[in-house]
């Protein structure tokens, strides 16, 4: 059991490190080009680097969560979380010419969670889906959304590109089921962000699941509304 946990941790670390190769490669090449080119490259360099740093920060957050610390849960405004994630993702989405849509389906009571962790988890899912669609021939886009189901609140990110994200979701499901899979095979699919997101979700006593809605596929967590704040819907 201890060995299994160590192996899973090592695999996650390896996956994160592998995923960092790509943004660092982009940074290095854009920096090299920058001496002869446009200011847009400077902006892109900064945005790519910052998102890679966010991946590192989120990984560190997921590690903190796995040390069985008692987390401070608080009522968290659903709209605020999603708006914050959208703001985090906007720069990297621009780099990849990926559209972000923010969609709140109704009004929501605050949910009992941890703002920083939930925001990081949603951001990481969004980042993974943006990167996954980066080479799509169609208009890449993600939808950051919340909706109600069976008196619970679902928060998640949907992808407009079903073809690309099908592989991502299959890998995600395999990781969740802990099936043996060669990490190099997934290292250039941005699964590390999803794994980090799910690890963070675990520390919040929830998990990301593959969901379908309005003919789109996405990943979402289920959270319970705060019983004290239930009367307040925003």
């Amino acid at each position: 059991m201890v060995a299994d946990i160590a192996l899973t941790g090592d695999k996650l670390f390896q996956s994160v490190i592998e995923q960092l190769k790509l943004p660092l490669l982009h940074i290095a090449n854009k920096a090299e080009l920058s001496s002869e080119l446009t200011p847009q490259n400077y902006s892109d360099i900064s945005d790519i680097a910052r998102m890679a740093l966010k991946l590192v920060d989120s990984y560190m957050l997921s590690i903190e969560g796995s040390n069985n610390q008692i987390l401070d849960l608080e009522p968290v405004a659903v709209g605020s979380i999603l708006r914050s994630a959208a703001i985090n993702l906007s720069p990297i989405a621009n780099v990849h010419s990926c559209n972000i849509e923010l969609k709140l389906d109704g009004s929501f009571a605050p949910v009992m969670s941890n703002y920083r962790r939930l925001e990081a988890a949603i951001t990481m899912v969004g980042y993974s889906l943006i990167e996954a669609q980066a080479s799509s021939n169609e208009d890449p886009g993600i939808i950051i959304t919340a909706y109600k189901k069976n008196e619970k609140t679902k928060l998640g990110v949907f992808s407009k590109d079903l073809y690309i994200t099908r592989d991502i979701f299959n890998i995600f499901k395999d990781q969740r089921l802990n099936l043996k899979q060669s990490l190099p095979g997934v290292s250039f699919t941005p699964a590390a962000g999803l794994m980090v997101a799910n690890k963070i979700a675990g520390s919040l006593s929830t998990q990301f699941g593959v969901v379908k809605r309005d003919n789109l596929k996405g990943l979402a967590v289920v959270l319970s509304p705060s019983s004290q704040m239930r009367l307040i819907e925003v």
């Binding site: 490669l25 090449n29 090299e32 980066a134 250039f188």
Partner: protein, 125 residues
């Protein structure tokens, strides 16, 4: 010199294209094998820069298809990949009969080296 870059990474392809065009190359971009075949049919490149890990299909599949066209057999191909040699599990010797003339490792490849290799390999080929 006309170069075809086949890579699903649009950021990197764009950087390579911009750099090479600055030094007078004509550069076409394709993000998968089928788009590449269509482009080659319209304008035959002098050399191809190919990433093995394409999003939809493997670069090797493209290589097999390219070499099925006799009129394109002489186009040299340079593999330019994020995979290191141990991950690639192939050596240049095995790839030579597919017309692969070099393997470049992206993390250590500088842009000026890319331009030099393209021109050098083309003159040798």
């Amino acid at each position: 010199m006309r170069t075809l870059i086949i890579d699903s990474d649009k950021i990197l392809s764009s950087v390579y294209k911009t750099y090479l065009e600055y030094f007078g190359h004509v550069v076409d971009l394709a993000d998968d094998g089928q788009v590449a075949i269509d482009l080659i049919d319209k304008a035959k490149p002098d050399i191809i820069l190919l990433e093995i890990q394409l999003k939809k299909h493997s670069g090797f599949e493209f290589l097999y298809e390219l070499r099925s066209y006799p009129e394109w057999n002489e186009i040299p191909v340079i593999l330019c990949t994020l995979l290191n040699k141990s991950e690639l599990s192939l050596s240049l010797v095995h790839l030579e009969h597919f017309g692969v003339v070099d393997i470049l490792y992206k993390p250590t490849l500088r842009l000026n080296e890319l331009a030099y290799v393209l021109e050098n390999k083309l003159s040798v080929a």
